[in-house]
Amino acid sequence: MSFLTDPINAIADWLESLLLSLGLTSQAVTILMTLLGAIVVGSFGLMLVIFLIWVERKVYARIQDRLGPNRVGPWGILQTFPDMIKIFTKEYITPIGADKVPYNLAPILSVSAVLLAWAVIPFASTVVGSDINVGVLYIVAVGAIGTLGIILAGWSSNNKYALLGAFRTVAQMVSYEVPMVLALLIPVLLARSMGVNSIVQSQQVWYILLAPIAAFFFFITSIAETGRAPFDLLEAESEIIAGYQTEYSGLKFGMFFVGEFLHAFTISALTVTLFLGGWRGPWSEQVPLLGTAYFFIKTFIVYFIVLWVRISLPRLRIDQMLNFNWKFLTPIALVMLMATAVLEKILSTWLPTLRLTDSGVILIRTITHLGLNVLVAAGVIYLLRSYTIRREKVGQPRPLAVAPEPPASVLE
């Protein structure tokens, strides 16, 4: 019975007892089992990429009214394997004057930073790589390493376009980390915990209902963190060749793409975990296998939205993108954090005095938080509207860019 409801833990228990009966010490068994678990999680992530590349190409093709890969295997599902073999046999070309150590380190960093986040994502109530109590902080810390990899790639290539890509990374990915961390603070505040699994367990009501603004902001900023359209300024093909990855070839180039595809899926998984209830669903506590199914169904729905955004929207200009971050996302996220903290304090002192049932408490908490979010959103829309109307009354459209005054000698 236990094998049917929770196969992963059943297999792990069986292996552990087998190893113990072979005469190993319990310490050695723990280390071996942890190592095995780490290998399983890591290789699962990389195996997933093979499938994700096919999904992404197929979804793109269908939205653009093309067929997409359709020759190798049923519906072209095996197309990735010949592509992999091809890229594996390509030559590495290192540009003259490249800084060798960071140049070779960068593709490894960009994959491993993404893969590292999978250590703390819970796939079911009992299946989680490592349930550390600082999970959210760990995700933020690990996410920053990926940015570092891209900066290293751009800096070490000895190519001016690659360097421009790295600079744009500093302006974009680094800036978007501020509202992302602010949005992450709100589920931490609501759950009173940084452990990812305990955040999932505390979501009797999905946090997207309690904090829709934070969920929306996290979704936008994490798309910006992946560096894909509409935020793909760091590898804008029409402007700076291929940005930071111009000088890479062969599998090193491929690794940047593995990292990018996996990152898109990882942000979907994180959005689901933190705001859409993770593995929660009917009977997911009793049957962990069902929880895993819920988790992946939700994640693929969010992943489809990520792809949809990428294919639908054009690239932003860098000043628009930075204005959007620093003058829209960051102030609103700060206001939301303060408002949520005040409301939580009021609720936590006032609700216990009412002697309500558990479901009553949850209902009041959800309604008040939702109301607060609607209020803040309405205020923001009012401010933006009045700003636009004022500009229309003045009748002067805001200049797109300030052109320098021509020298007086030219005018004469």
């Binding site: 723990t30 594996f88 893969l115 009173r192 003058k327 102030p331």
Partner: protein, 118 residues
Amino acid sequence: MQSDWLFIALFLLIVAAFPGVPILLAGILGPRRPNSIKNSVYECGIETVGNTWIQFRIQYYIFGLTFLVFDVELVFLFPWAVAFNSLSLFGVIAGILFILILFIELLAAWRKGVLEWV
């Protein structure tokens, strides 16, 4: 608890090996015929001029600095959010004042024109 951190430590090694080993293997298996034209820097087919690592626009540096200020201060808010239940009213107000200072800092930077892309 200890085995959780052991998992992270082992995962760090494995995660570095998963992309690292294929890259090494491909380097051994793939052809290696470098020449000076192939290895030259690709800048749209035009011969590259001057040094790459030169002085760059101050703008990027300012954004980097602004980010640093925010990110360092945000880290302090995580323990505050976790310990929210055991905080007194004063603790909550102190935290909110801290966020308010961050907010004013942002407005000051905005007013100073730091956030303008020129």
